[in-house]
């Protein structure tokens, strides 16, 4: 299995699992990158990234600094936060920094933009490069100003000698737009306590482009003679192509390309290509009946590979003995789509044995390999440029649109653009997997959890193991989002969906904690704290409770208040919510959400708040409405009418709390709060109405059914 086609984020996997995943065809860049990043001493080394500082930055004669990174701006503020980091280390003004992202020709290799890894893994490399550059620039300035480098001061890229006022030299004058040919080893990065740019909120670098419509996305590039392609698609996953008659489309003036598995209709105008596609008569043989969105859970249990241990301590038999009562529950979640507003798009040119593809992708470098392979070109003859990307959430780690565009550009000899329509976006999405979690637990007569036996099927094991203090526990996992599942286990390709595995596991664990709290007759927050010795998690819970004004009560209290917490890649989040349940319609309105996170040092606090707000909003979708409807390989959701994503009227009052941990390395904040959203809403519904929903999403129909049962 190659990491480039599934785009899996690596964290949460042990070395052993990584090697199991990577298999014999170990992908060197992939493994080195993050294995290195696992090492505790992260600074100032640049493991997995180039050692040459010129790969990261260029200084123009006018003193403007350009920062280069293989990361992509998906909307999460990579441009802004990376510019902050470089400005800080170089001691130039934030506004002096321009940034070039996601261009395989100009930027240092990067595995991809996912897993909250920009700040965590690329950040240290960039800091190291910036610190080294500054040290060299001071050395050069010292020679010019005839002063020891240690005495020099620098502000805004202007170097001065305090002993000879009036004399100065700028970075721009020192470098003259050239490469920095010197090299220095072991330069220390700036201590966090000295930060003036990082650690403070910054104006987004992409703001003007985005409010004026000037921001270019992959489907906005046009070239003379460019053709728009629409492709013949199967009606269902597993359908077999039989035959196609494209004569009517050709008669209507479209160009038809048939090459291997591709049948494409091309036209200078995208809508006319679409009309012509409607004239193609294609026949497919549907697959044999398999499963649908209702039977999928039984199907998963039947088809999952054997359970694998993912952590254990104590002895389950002892736990049984110590338990005065036991509880066994099952938690379900359906497939969930990424549904970015920009569908997968690509514009490709192939000329003189070189391909250039502008693509909405989270992983330009692995896409380069895929395109090179598809076209029979050497990777160095393929350039991928990820311009602004209209939302990723994990879904643009994969996607064949760029390969389609490149193949068609090669076949036609013209620039070709492929923009998936919304139905294609749903059909080819690498869904967050449907999953089943079974938990068997036991309480002592004193209300302490003595037993915890946790099994997850389909979602994966990340953060499946509980961090609560439970003496006898076991965690097991079968199958997951990373691929490698038995054929036919999942509807189609599954993949990373914002905080992969962890939404499922947090929903199950935190719902179950509330069930046990209610059984023990203890307030849900107090019950958690009684089983929690992790200081960081206690602190986010307590911070959220203080802001929320949490009042201890045994649930259901009728107030509709809920709590949930969890870890995500060494960040932790605690969320509290207040909901109202309409007993007539089953509609759940989330009225207020308070979320606290600890992500180590927050480089851009407002950027982190934007991510937290985004997590809460997006999380309401998988909590309340989002599930992919399908039957026998056919994806029934084709647009936003049946697949409902959060809207303005859903938005609760939002309060975000950042727990400042400047002593801890920044760990990235694109994902933590979203993991709590299923459970916090489920727990608040229980507190409001006394009904326990164990299946996501908690649609009005499921709420009504639960109310009927009582």
């Amino acid at each position: 299995m190659k990491p480039d086609c599934t785009g899996k984020g690596p964290e949460g996997l042990s070395r052993r699992e990584l090697f199991a995943l990577a298999g014999p065809g170990l992908f060197l860049g992939f493994s080195v990158d993050w294995l290195a990043a696992q090492e505790p001493a992260r600074l100032p080394a640049r493991q997995g990234y180039p050692t040459d500082l010129n790969a990261y930055l260029r200084i123009a004669p006018d003193g403007r600094v350009t920062c280069f990174s293989g990361k992509v701006e998906l909307g999460q503020g990579a441009m802004t936060v990376l510019a902050q980091i470089l400005a800080e280390e170089l001691d130039v003004a934030y506004d002096q920094v321009d940034i070039v992202l996601g261009d395989t020709e100009l930027c240092p290799y990067d595995m991809g933009t996912f897993g909250s890894m920009n700040v965590r893994y690329f950040g240290p490399a960039l800091r190291g490069a910036g610190a080294e550059a500054k040290a060299i620039l001071l050395q050069m300035a010292g020679e010019q100003l005839q002063a020891p480098a240690a005495r020099l001061q620098v502000k805004g890229g202007v170097v001065t000698d305090p002993n000879t006022p009036g004399k100065s030299v700028t970075y721009g004058q020192l470098v003259q737009g050239k490469r920095i040919e010197r090299h220095m080893e072991g330069v220390a990065v700036k201590p966090v306590a000295a930060y003036t740019v990082a650690g403070h909120s910054a104006a987004r670098k992409d703001a003007l482009d985005k409010v004026t419509g000037k921001a270019m996305y992959a489907g906005d590039f046009t070239f003379p003679g460019m053709l728009h392609a629409r492709l013949v698609r199967p009606p269902a996953h597993g359908a077999k192509f039989l035959e196609a008659d494209s004569s009517a489309a050709e008669k209507a003036g479209a160009l038809v390309v048939r090459e291997g598995d591709l049948i494409a209709v091309l036209h200078e105008r995208p809508d006319l290509a679409d009309q012509a596609l409607g004239l193609v008569q294609a026949r497919f043989e549907r697959p044999a009946p398999t499963m649908d969105d209702k039977t999928v859970f039984d199907h998963l249990l039947k088809t999952a590979p054997p359970l694998k241990d993912a952590g254990a301590s104590g002895d389950l038999a002892e736990g049984e003995k110590a338990s005065a009562s036991t509880v066994e529950e099952t938690y379900l979640n359906s497939y969930v789509a990424h549904a970015p507003m920009e569908t997968h798009s690509a514009t490709a040119t192939v000329e003189n044995g070189r391909a250039t593809v502008w693509a909405s992708t989270q992983a330009p470098f692995s896409l380069r390999q895929q395109v090179a392979q598809a076209l029979g070109l050497a990777p160095q003859n393929v350039r991928i440029i990820a311009p602004y990307v209209g939302g990723g959430f994990g879904g643009k780690s994969a996607g064949g649109q760029a390969v389609e565009a490149a193949r068609l550009a090669k076949a036609t000899g013209k620039p070709v653009q492929v923009v998936w329509n919304r139905a294609e976006e749903f059909f080819y999405d690498t869904f967050r997997p449907a999953a089943v979690v079974k938990i068997r637990s036991g309480l002592t007569s004193a209300g302490k959890i003595a037993l915890w036996d946790y099994k997850v099927y389909g979602a994966g094991e990340r953060e499946a193991k509980t961090y609560y203090d439970i003496p006898h526990q076991r965690t097991q996992s079968a199958g997951g989002w990373q691929g490698g599942n038995p054929p036919g286990m999942h509807l189609s390709a599954v993949g990373p969906w914002r905080a992969p595995s962890v939404n499922t596991n947090t929903f199950a664990r935190e719902s179950h904690m509330d069930t046990l709290a209610a059984k023990a007759g203890v307030d849900p927050l107090e019950f958690r704290l009684r089983h929690l010795s992790d200081a960081r998690m206690r602190r986010v819970l307590e911070a959220a409770a203080k802001q929320f004004g949490w009042k201890a009560a045994k649930a259901p209290s009728g107030r509709g208040a809920g709590v949930a917490c969890g870890f995500y890649s060494n960040a932790c989040a605690a969320t509290m919510a207040e909901v109202a349940v309409d007993p007539k319609t089953g509609h759940v309105q989330v009225k207020r959400v308070v979320s606290a996170v600890d992500v180590g040092l927050a480089i851009n606090p407002d950027g982190l708040r934007q991510q937290m707000e985004g997590c809460i909003a997006m999380g309401l979708g998988y909590a309340l409405t989002e599930e992919v409807h399908f039957k026998d390989g056919e994806v029934l959701d084709r647009n936003f009418d049946s697949y409902q994503i959060p809207r303005f009227s859903w938005m609760p009052r939002l309060e975000t709390i950042i727990i400042d941990s400047p002593g801890m390395a920044a760990v990235g904040g694109g994902e933590p709060p979203i993991i709590t959203m299923g459970a916090v809403v489920a727990n608040a519904i229980y507190d409001a109405a006394g009904i326990r929903l164990r299946q996501l999403p908690m649609t009005p129909a499921r709420v009504l059914e639960a109310l009927k049962k009582g």
């Binding site: 104006a203 419509g213 507003m341 919304r422 707000e613």
Partner: protein, 158 residues
């Protein structure tokens, strides 16, 4: 059948020779090269393609271009041609976007709201914006930005 459709686009007269029944979105993006207007769903469900026609917000993916003959059309490229419009400035200030793909539609739908209701309440803003979808979750900032652009947060009109 091809015919020539004339209308005013961002203050300037334009004529395009187009097939009958083509939607405004594609003519804007492909024939006229204005790519600030986005394709999101193709069925008027998401609002990414929102433009202003005779002072009303419309979904350009679902408006045949023939319907705008003789009318005034404004896209995001036409807003704030001489410096940022108050709505754009407020979106910048509040960081009322993330990926930015829905932003053109959000801003133009807000523009139509403020023409009709110069001092909307947050609830009126949310109701008016309800069918413009944002996947990144910038909703509350969008409401704040529109409120500020309307002068609501300053307690007076601009």
């Amino acid at each position: 059948m091809e015919r020539t459709i004339s209308f005013t686009l961002n203050g300037r007269p334009v004529s395009v020779k187009v097939e009958d029944g083509r939607m405004l979105l594609w003519v804007l993006r492909s024939d006229l090269g204005l790519t600030g207007t986005k394709f999101g769903c193709g069925e008027g469900l998401c609002g990414a393609c929102t433009v202003i026609v005779n002072q009303q917000a419309v979904r350009s993916c679902s408006v045949p271009v023939a319907e705008v003959a003789g009318k005034q059309v404004m896209t995001i490229e036409g807003l704030g041609q001489s410096g940022l419009h108050a709505i754009q400035a407020a979106f910048v200030k509040h960081h009322a976007f993330q990926c930015g793909y829905c932003t053109s539609g959000m801003i133009l739908n807000a523009y139509a709201l403020l023409l009709k209701t110069p001092k909307p309440t947050p609830l009126q803003i949310a109701q008016h914006m309800e069918d413009n979808l944002c996947r990144c979750g910038a909703h509350t900032r969008i409401v704040d930005a529109i409120g500020e652009a309307a002068g609501a947060s300053k307690g007076g009109a601009r």
